[in-house]
Amino acid sequence: MNEAASIRIDDAVLVQRCRKGDSEATERLILRYQNRVYNIIYRMCGNADDAAELTQDTFVKVIENIDRFAGNSTFYTWVFRIAVNLTLNFCQRRSKVAYHSIDVEQHDQNWQATALLKKFLSNETSPDPALVAQNHELLRLLQETLAELDEPHRAVIVLRDIEQMTYEQIAKVLNLQMGTVKSRLNRARCNLRDLLEKRLK
């Protein structure tokens, strides 16, 4: 609690200095959030170049509009709202074309990853999650499956399970009611599970 409070105060100071044109403060704000922003954008759009471009656009927009930041939410929430909105718009424009197709041949070659996934998802066994994280093919499979979700479902899963946001923060970033966050997260996890099991078949 104290750490979180100190971070918020620190953000407020940096924001204030950034508004006055302090480039050092601007750089510190970017450095503080660039990795987290890039990570969730990458998980949502699934492409490193697009993610880098969208991260840059996010911070340009943040700095340009920093005078409009009223402080009603935390700076962190505000930055992520801009990032998610830009990414969702980008994904809708791209319209799932490039990312949703799965190379069947490559999929067949990664039978080990599939087997590991099957083992992981079965009720009887529960392998160490660390093993999953070490299997790059399984991670790629997982990323592809994530990309198959609708954008709203993908966003809520990324914010919760990757960025570890609370339901309240998700509601603020996505501008949703708390009940909608709960039901959407439930639906997103069910759909993800269905998609993964579909791959195993």
Partner: protein, 313 residues
Amino acid sequence: MKDNIDEFLNAYIDGELTQRQQIEIQRLIKHDEQVAKRLNRLQKSKMLVASLPRLDAPAGMVDRIMTALETKAILEHQPAIVNPHAGAAYLFARKLVTAAAMITLMAILAVVVYTILAPNSETPTIATNGTATVALATEDFYGRLELTTANLAASNAVLARAIESQGLENSVEAQTVNGQNTYNLTCSRAGAKALIARLSGIWKNLDAATLVLQTDTFAKDVAVNTVTAEQIAQIIDKDTLNERIDVANELAAANKLAKLMPNENMLPGMPNHTIIPTLVMPVLTGDNASPTKVAAPAKPGERVNLTIILRTP
């Protein structure tokens, strides 16, 4: 119902339930194997996604962002090379100048055409007075009345009495040269008309009476032969020289025509010539009564300059 329980299970694994709700869910899991299985599925999905590694932004992201910001700032502050409104403003100015030139040209053309086509007449100028009423400016009368009579002495006497009776003694300069008497009269129009009216009595004794209307050009003087007192009054009564010339020409022609007619005594006059001025005749009311004197000072434009010449044939 199932979705409702799943929402609680999700909230349970996300740590979003109150302590009491957590206890309820734990009790439910313990007693319901299906719920426990669903919880396990959800936990594994969550763990799977959470196992995705955190990726760092590419190196140099800060520089990229700062460069993008600087570039944008430069572009926004750079003045536009082409002003989109400049062309429209230039075209508008050109149209305006063209329209002004056209109007000026048409005005000049109109003046030239008017100068060529307008009648070259001495149109009476319009004079306005303080009450904004418009009246035609009048012009002084200049003329010569040549009376030929065998009875010069009697005619002179009548003329002298007439001048005296109208109080025009100071307006007349009389002189006798080579047997002819000349009276230079300068008086008001009313005075002149009254004097002519008084003289109408001698007309039957005249051998000839000619009114010469002096114009600006000597050669263009208009002479009305066999002129009567009424005709003189009629001519004097006109306000401008052009009107007097017109009337004089009409009367001269009428008199000439009348002379050629068998009955020489017919009244001269032109068709449509209906303007017969009323002569100011003196009214005699008794022996001591004197006629009305009209020798009022003449106003500019209403002055009559009449030279009366009495001579023998």
